[in-house]
Symmetry: C2
Subunit: 441 residues, 2 copies
């Protein structure tokens, strides 16, 4: 009996029920019953769920606590992935590069072992997305295989250099598969490093791996590939599931998106910006944002340096002023503060911040509110901070501001250039302040 | 010509138009015209808006850039606040205490000087909320007058002690007026310090001061007073405007709310929780949450100690591991980490965190996603962090977790008690994990 991925309670139940992965089974729970093909399990460590694929193609997980009976309807073979031979893909189709960095998104299930194997070859990727076989020709490059919480600025440099190289080969678009945890940071980083990139560069991840009930892996990957090959805009974006259904994708500006839920498939949101586009099946609907258009690859160069001597300080009541002394000693060159409200922090920190600025550190202000704009001319606290040289960063996300600070410090040397570049809108990260409207909310 | 609060361009325009505050004026803009009473201005430093009150009672601000002409229709007197004599308030009405700590919410306009004057006396407050004169009898106490970004743990102690004292006098409810910037932190702090409080304690602030177009000050204050006097539940809440109209208020659990916009009136949201109630005019609709009910004041005691040797560390790529060494040296006793996704941080920080834990620091994990729950058993990174003793804090907001850590360390000494209290749901701050549902999203 093959039961890959099952252990403990679920394995025991399936063994005693005499069923194997691939069998068509009936699973009775208290007030209901499900019929489907028993799937292998992996990744999730829990030992008390079984997974079946229903006739409608939907995968569900059922807790062993609720299961009254598992019955085999007929024996079956564990499903195996059918490889798409690359020779069957028309070589006149638009070409996209899929650059793998890790995460579960571009993984395929090894049905023999029940394990997850990175889908790194172009043939693997075509096999995962057979619906694209007549639309794009995938080329692939694995540059990293790490969890995204381990991504560091040096990895952004590697990603940017890889995209630059792929652009030079005449790709129509690039997809970067990435874990979701820090995908927002990486997308912001590449938005700056790849300023002027002539094609779309689409980050994509998945919140649920492909063996899980209602996985978003395939939807996201197919949608990202379509945007990369077909969108009229260029630049760096994140493509992820949105909405309550199983078929809608949002394309977020790389500088404006954030993972706003730990586990939901629609975790990514655009903050302080509209989304750039939606994707539903083959239909890409682009919003009327002013986005850069596709251009010629001939003279594109990435600016992929990041200086990681930068710190993000989120304000909270009782924040220790000596933290800034520590940052000075550590030779930090830039600090992004996540202040309260319109860009405030307690008066007892102002002196420490002035010392940091006087020692040459660039200090920018964002808001821990996430939504809205810092506006430091309204209250005394804000005006005092402006006076000592804190730079208001408008409606930029704190995470994007942090990454931009690393990029600016990596690419500019003169203080006035550093400041003017920080507050300049380079990649959609800042919206110019709208004048107060009559009767505005 | 009285033009209190006006300066620069707006003052010049009004002077040359020969109008004064209190006059009925017509203001022509490019494609429109407005008729209303010229209001004084204050607080906002800008010099290029004029404010008028329309016949429907709505205040609007108009940019001088758009103004073609200002014309006096008839002269008027600057409005003056009519004081409600306290002797006119029925002393059998429910009693509420309004405790002022600062912020613009409980301010009245001094129409003579154009300045904002704190509304601290009960007569002032009744004058601001004449609609309540037949509903509640207000008593007032000013304990602070500070911007909320300057609120520190010692101020939470003062607030909690003041509420305890007011409870002992038999109040039906308490309203605490507070600046919005750190109101979420303070509400969380008092949720713990006032565990078991037998009456509703309602924090209230305003995003727009009462001279501003579409101010929420009066709506919020009246609504908060009604909830304090009438709600069937007890405990600590935040009452603030929600929705797109001018008449709806949400009552958020003190441990679950956060300022999620820098300037909108509906900035406060409940995160990972439903709201406790809505207020529309006189109607309070309570949700079916399990909330503590009103009880007897006889044996209530606040536990208002906070230990501020606690730090909040928001993870970001390139976070310096030596930060934890700095925190150890500063004799920090508790650290709340805002990790990525389900509760992760880069592997190169694990050793530094282990050292902190081994030195006796309590380390709890929350997520910078805001929404959702940490779940550290899913990926290796999470399991490694659990192994070294990091405590997963479920779906608690990072800010609430920080404040709870300060309170737990201030009130418990034994390590096992500290940990078990941290992960226990005391004031609605944690929802127990729901079992995986079949076909769940």
């Amino acid at each position: 009996m093959e039961l890959p991925g099952y252990r403990g309670r679920s394995q025991q139940l399936l063994r005693s029920s005499n069923v194997a992965v691939g069998d068509l089974v009936q699973v009775r729970v208290r007030n209901n019953a499900y019929k489907g093909t028993l799937l292998p399990r992996y990744e999730y460590a829990d030992d008390h769920h079984i997974a079946i694929k229903l006739a409608n193609g939907y995968n569900i997980g059922i807790s062993t606590n609720n299961i009254v009976l598992v019955k085999r309807i007929r024996s079956g073979k564990a499903p195996r992935l059918v490889q798409t031979p690359l020779s069957s893909i028309d070589n006149k189709l638009p070409r996209i590069a899929v650059i793998s960095t890790g995460g579960t998104i571009a993984s395929r299930i090894d049905y023999r072992t029940g394990g997850v194997v990175p889908a790194v070859s172009a043939a693997d990727l075509h096999s995962l997305m057979p619906e694209l076989n007549n639309e794009v020709r995938v080329e692939s490059e694995e540059i990293l295989n790490i969890s995204s919480e381990n991504v560091r600025p040096k990895h952004w440099t590697l990603m940017a250099q890889t995209v630059e190289k792929q652009v030079a080969t005449g790709m129509n678009g690039v997809v970067i598969t990435h874990g979701t945890d820090t995908m927002g940071y990486s997308a912001a980083a590449l938005s700056f490093a790849l300023l002027g990139v002539p094609i779309p560069v689409i980050f994509v991840g998945s919140q649920r791996s492909s063996d899980r009930p209602s996985s978003d892996a395939n939807l996201n990957l197919v949608g990202a590939a379509r945007v990369a090959s077909q969108a009229s805009f260029s630049g760096v974006y994140v493509a992820m599931h949105i909405g309550l259904g199983d078929d809608l994708l949002a394309v977020h500006l790389g500088t404006r998106t954030r993972k706003n839920h730990t586990s939901r498939r629609d975790a990514f949101q655009s903050v302080n910006s509209e989304i750039a586009a939606t994707v539903k099946d083959k239909l890409i609907e682009e919003n009327k944002l002013r986005l850069p258009r596709r251009g010629s690859a001939s003279d594109f160069q990435a600016r992929s340096k990041f200086d990681d001597r930068v710190a993000l300080v989120k304000y909270y009541p009782a924040l220790d002023p000596d933290l800034f002394e520590f940052l000075i000693q550590r030779r930090i060159k830039g600090i992004i503060i996540e202040g309260t409200g319109l860009g405030h922090i307690s008066a007892d920190l102002h002196k420490a911040i002035k010392t940091a600025i006087d020692s040459g550190i660039v200090v920018g202000m964002t808001s821990q509110c996430l939504w809205g704009r810092v506006r430091m001319t309204v209250y005394d606290t804000g005006r005092d901070l402006l006076k000592i040289g804190v730079i208001p960063l408008e409606d930029m996300l704190a995470e994007t501001a942090l990454v931009k600070m690393m990029w600016v410090l990596g690419n500019y040397k003169r203080p006035e250039e550093i400041v003017s570049t920080l507050v300049d809108n380079l990649a959609g990260e800042i919206t110019l302040r709208s004048p107060l409207r009559v009767g505005s909310k």
